[in-house]
């Protein structure tokens, strides 16, 4: 059987190649599910902004949506790709995934990351997230809080990513 090809860093020069139309706007076929916006900032182990990263998101479908080969936007269906700004900021526009504790699967690529970092952002109350069977290794951990988006107003969430150090975001073994 063939063996897997190893990962290498995306490096600093990917932006023009991997930039899609309307970065950060996740394409769906219908208007199902609440429209949501997640904004945040990515920082490194010294608290400095990570201004050259790429973030990708993948999620369960919004209520009532069905996968379609062409969502109309020209972008891949249900899959978000965006870059952090120079100040480390990012913005994801999508629709609320289905599920009791809805979440986005998030992968981070950047110079200095030899492999994508996988994490999640949950859009639910802490109690519901703690009860998630897939997160049982974190059920009593204070670090679980790093996966929770804070709702500012209806449909708008705040979620920061800390790659290293105090308040380091939980990353998953891929």
């Amino acid at each position: 059987m063939p063996q897997r090809t190893p990962s290498q860093t995306v490096g600093p020069f990917f932006h023009e190649a991997l930039r899609w139309k309307e970065p950060g706007k996740v394409a769906f076929a219908s208007g199902g599910g609440e429209r949501i916006v997640i904004t945040g900032r990515m920082t490194d182990g010294s608290g400095q902004p990570v201004g050259d990263a790429m973030i990708e998101t993948w999620q369960r479908l919004p209520a009532g949506d069905a996968p379609a080969a062409d969502s109309g936007s020209g972008n891949p269906y249900g899959f978000g790709r965006l870059e952090t700004g120079k100040d480390g900021s990012f913005r994801i526009e999508t629709r609320m995934p289905e599920g009791a504790a809805p979440f986005l699967d998030v992968t981070i690529f950047a110079r200095g990351l030899l492999k994508g970092l996988r994490t999640r952002v949950y859009l639910a109350d802490e109690a519901k997230v703690r009860a998630e069977p897939m997160l049982k290794d974190l059920a009593s951990s204070s670090r679980l809080a790093t996966l929770l988006a804070q709702r500012a107003v209806k449909g708008e969430y705040r979620w920061d990513i800390r790659l290293q150090g105090d308040g380091e975001t939980v990353f998953f073994a891929a």
């Binding site: 059987m1 063939p2 063996q3 897997r4 090809t5 190893p6 990962s7 290498q8 860093t9 995306v10 490096g11 600093p12 020069f13 990917f14 932006h15 023009e16 190649a17 991997l18 490194d44 182990g45 010294s46 400095q48 990570v50 050259d52 993948w58 369960r60 996968p67 080969a69 062409d70 969502s71 020209g74 972008n75 891949p76 269906y77 249900g78 899959f79 699967d105 992968t107 950047a110 110079r111 200095g112 990351l113 030899l114 492999k115 994508g116 970092l117 069977p133 897939m134 997160l135 049982k136 290794d137 974190l138 670090r143 790659l163 290293q164 150090g165 380091e168 990353f171 998953f172 073994a173």
Partner: protein, 229 residues
């Protein structure tokens, strides 16, 4: 440290002291295991996402780009040897002088107005892909004194499920910079490193026009069946 520092691991560890940029970006905490996989197939990429000619990086200028014309072709497979069909492959690279068409590249080598170094394609029903391009130049970087990256082409593969997502780099056989490149050597296993090195294959090229290189890419197995197939 994380669990990927095992010497038999395929992927590099996040923390790799020889690659300076990992020092403030590699997580320090243990990676957490998810109990169960998030195994939704996808994503579906619209056919129109790839345009005719997107897999030939040499035809988008007013004239031909400078450098050694080459073809890189191969198959995209999973660990069970099954072809990954109709899946998006994105590439980017430096021009023949070792300069990226990117605002962040400060290397004092000339841009080529006829070469952006960007390509995309879909694999076919047997998992085959093919690009026509220019052999990228080596270039210096700031990692350490006299640091030069070996010639390489960046590959981004979506696969057909999140677990298959891979970004890697393709290298060239016999490059004397490979044994001293911290990024290439971040992969601990010698055999795994060699899987990132393409093979010279003249018949993959174009007679009298372009050299040929073969580069097969193997992604993790996925339990999902691709959506829409």
């Amino acid at each position: 440290m994380n669990d990927m520092t095992r010497p038999d691991a395929i992927d590099p560890p996040y923390a790799h002291p020889g690659y300076r940029s990992t020092s403030l970006r590699a997580p320090k905490e243990e990676l957490v295991r998810l109990a169960g996989a998030f195994d939704i197939a996808g994503p579906l990429v619209p056919q129109g996402f790839v345009k005719s000619g997107d897999n030939d990086l040499t035809i988008h200028g007013k004239s031909a780009p400078l450098g050694e014309k080459m073809v890189v072709a191969g198959r995209l497979l999973d660990e069970d040897g099954r072809p990954i069909r109709r899946s998006l492959v994105e590439i980017w690279q430096a021009n023949a002088s070792g300069r990226y068409d990117h605002p962040g590249d400060q290397h004092d080598a000339p841009l080529d107005p006829n070469f952006t170094g960007i390509g995309r394609t879909f694999t076919d029903d047997e998992g085959n892909y093919r690009f026509v391009t220019i052999k990228p130049g080596a270039y210096p970087w700031q990692n350490h004194k006299f640091a030069w990256r070996p010639q390489h082409i960046h590959f981004s593969l979506l696969g057909n499920a999140p677990v298959q997502r891979l970004i890697t780099q393709m290298y060239f056989p016999g490059d004397p910079l490979l044994p001293i490149d911290p990024i290439f050597n971040s992969v601990p296993d010698e055999q795994a490193r060699q899987r990132m090195v393409s093979t010279l294959d003249l018949e993959t090229g174009i007679e009298g026009i372009a050299l040929g290189y073969r580069f097969d890419i193997v992604l993790a197995g996925a339990k999902s069946t691709p959506l829409g197939t």
